[in-house]
């Protein structure tokens, strides 16, 4: 087990700046998830840790060793690839034993470790099969087993679940979590799926365009996004945004948009004094919206027109147009509305977020 330290790492391809000064301290035993859209530099960062890509600038340390110039074989890491990368001509057993054979472990030790890992992953009865005789989920387990047997300092996962169907993905996600609780090996996990990031990560790193947007525990990212991008990326359905202008009215500040006038809670308003009469972006999570009742103050309600109602059973997702934007509200399953119906939505003031119109940073 080891820490991983990434210091001001850059990666240039010929004329493409893929990773722009990423710094990250990964603690021992930590499960860290890099998440972002494709092309954000998360996989490149992972591959630099693995030694599969050279580092243009900066340093990467595993434990206390600078590994910039170490070949992958000397970094004591294991990696699970998106397409599993199982050796098709070898049996499951040989696939898992390959790394140990290369490292000259003796036969009995190899057998013990492979059988142990196969037991943990429930693939003992498939050890003599070839990868092509296995289902997607089983192949995924073999790929995991191949990483486990080596007992490396760090696990690297490159979108390992994206080739599985939705149901299996959820199941494997839970298993990965259990596996980490059991082995507690430092892990770096790359995904574009924010749900995977939130459920698996001790800490989540949101990246975009080769730059880290925010690092934090899942709930921290959800509750206190550093900017509009993180706010929109974390959470499902995604946060609603509306362009508003900050106006003073009486002693309070209001966010005004077309058909929208919402009182800004004092805790936030205190930080917005210098934004009076200037534009800002209002962010409301779908789960902070509800159908307005008679007792709701007009300061927290606004009009909306229902476009689509998606009944999910436990909740209803309303796609509405309001305040000149498309919004999504997650409401009680008992609500009955029709398309084109005019409704009133109320916001949970504590859930309001504001972002600067210019830098998109959270206020």
């Amino acid at each position: 087990m080891a820490t991983v330290t990434i210091r001001q790492v850059h990666k240039h391809y010929d004329d493409f700046h893929a990773v722009k000064g990423v710094s990250l301290d990964i603690k021992d035993h930590e499960f860290i998830v890099l998440v972002g859209p494709s092309g954000c530099g998360k996989t490149t960062t992972l591959r630099m840790v693995a030694g599969l890509e050279s580092i243009t600038e900066g340093q990467i340390l595993i434990g206390n060793t600078v590994v910039n110039d170490l070949p992958p074989m000397d970094r004591d890491i294991a990696m699970v690839f998106q397409n599993y990368a199982l050796y098709p001509h070898m049996s499951v057993y040989d696939n898992m034993a390959f790394g140990l054979k290369m490292r000259k472990f003796d036969r009995d030790e190899i057998r013990k470790r492979v059988e142990n890992a196969a037991g943990i992953l429930g693939i003992t009865e498939h050890l003599m099969r070839k990868p092509r005789q296995l289902s997607g989920g089983q192949r995924q387990r073999v790929a995991l087993g191949r990483a486990i047997v080596r007992n490396p300092q760090v696990f690297l996962f490159d979108e390992p679940l994206s080739n599985l169907d939705a149901k299996l993905r959820v199941q494997m996600r839970v298993e990965l979590k259990k596996l980490h609780q059991r082995l507690a090996t430092t892990s770096i996990y790359v995904t574009h799926d924010q749900v995977e990031a939130m459920t698996l990560g001790d800490r989540v790193v949101v990246m975009k365009d080769g730059i880290i947007q925010q690092v934090g525990e899942p709930l921290e990212l959800y509750n206190n996004p550093a900017n509009k991008y993180v706010a929109g990326f974390i959470g499902s359905p995604a946060m609603n945004f509306a362009d508003v202008t900050v106006r003073e009215s009486g002693s309070a500040l209001f966010a005004e948009g077309p058909g929208l006038k919402i009182r800004i809670p004092e805790a936030i308003a205190a930080r917005m004094g210098n934004l009076k009469d200037r534009p800002a972006t209002l962010g409301i999570r779908p789960e902070d919206l509800r159908m307005a009742g008679d007792g709701d103050s007009p300061d927290i309600t606004f009009d909306a027109v229902v476009e689509v109602a998606e009944q999910l059973g436990s909740e209803i997702i309303l796609d509405v147009s309001a305040a000149g934007a498309q919004m999504v509200a997650s409401v009680e399953p008992t609500v009955r509305v029709k398309p084109q119906q005019k409704i009133k939505l109320a916001v949970n003031s504590a859930g309001l977020r504001f972002f600067r119109a210019d830098t998109e940073a959270a206020i």
């Binding site: 992958p72 397409n83 050796y87 290369m102």
Partner: protein, 283 residues
């Protein structure tokens, strides 16, 4: 498979296949029938009353006996085998290594180098044999098997290189990356992972290279002169056609026997060979 009524299956599938097969196999049939046809029937005019071009009532082994007794056919077979096997082996080793390097090692000019290698394959042999014969004379290896063993790779290596390049490119690079993380050096990853996975591709390259050198004619005709050094294609033609007299029986017997090793090679590896051509690597 064609779906629908029986007549559709006949008209659009079975009949065309039958025509195609007849077209394809007729030369072989002709070779076989001529091999066993006595001379008396072979030179019978087509207007003769008992003219039977497609079968014979009096099969004979006289032509085979002539081929083995009166010519150095066994030597030709041995020469051809030796030359084809050695030049194929040389070309495969070079082709596999070059194909791996060009498809996997990202060095500058890799693309250009690949193209240049391909271009050398396009230079026609009918042009190349003139300078090559000069070189062969300078090294004094004319009229020995080495004249061909060393010249066949000039077209076999580019061929193998390109075939293997395509095959290596189809193998996911993660396989190799995974092996290297697992503790293999680049060389070990190639040896233990990539080459075993590429076996179907290597086998197709091998069969093609073997066939090309087995059937090669121009270089063999130019670089070899004594009858006992010749290969089958050249020996049969130069020893069994004298002036304008064609010894059709022995000629066809030689062609038939000469095509058997290639046919065996094909049928032996046919499964690997097909999967090599379709390039299927599944993880």
């Amino acid at each position: 498979m064609i779906e629908g009524s029986i007549w559709r299956r006949w008209v659009f599938f079975r009949l065309p296949v039958a025509v195609f097969l007849i077209f394809l196999l007729f030369p072989f049939y002709w070779m076989i029938i001529t091999t066993f046809r006595p001379d008396g029937e072979l030179y019978r005019p087509w207007r003769a009353a008992n003219y039977t071009p497609f079968w014979t009532w009096n099969p004979t082994t006289a032509h085979l006996k002539y081929l083995f007794g009166e010519t150095t056919f066994m030597m030709w077979m041995w020469n051809t085998t030796f030359i084809a096997v050695v030049s194929t082996a040389i070309s495969l080793v070079c082709g596999v290594l070059a194909g791996y390097a060009l498809s996997r090692l990202n060095f500058k000019l890799a693309g250009l180098l690949g193209t240049v290698i391909f271009v050398t394959y396009l230079v026609p042999q009918t042009l190349l044999f003139i300078p090559l014969s000069e070189i062969i004379n300078n090294y004094r290896i004319g009229d020995t098997p080495w004249a061909l063993i060393l010249t066949y790779p000039t077209f076999l290596i580019p061929f193998c290189t390109w075939l293997m390049m395509g095959y290596f490119k189809a193998i996911p690079k993660e396989l190799e990356e995974c092996a290297r993380i697992d503790g293999a050096s680049r060389w070990q990853a190639m040896l233990y992972i990539i080459i075993p996975v590429a076996v179907p591709g290597i086998l197709s390259a091998m069969i093609f290279a073997f066939t090309l050198s087995w059937n090669e004619f121009i270089y063999a005709l130019v670089f070899l002169s004594s009858p006992e050094q010749k290969t089958v294609p050249v020996g049969v033609v130069s020893e069994l056609i004298r002036g304008d007299v064609f010894f059709w029986g022995p000629l066809m017997a030689g062609a038939l026997l000469g095509s058997i090793p290639v046919a065996i090679a094909y049928s032996f590896f046919v499964e690997h060979y097909v999967s090599g051509l379709t390039g299927s690597v599944k993880g």
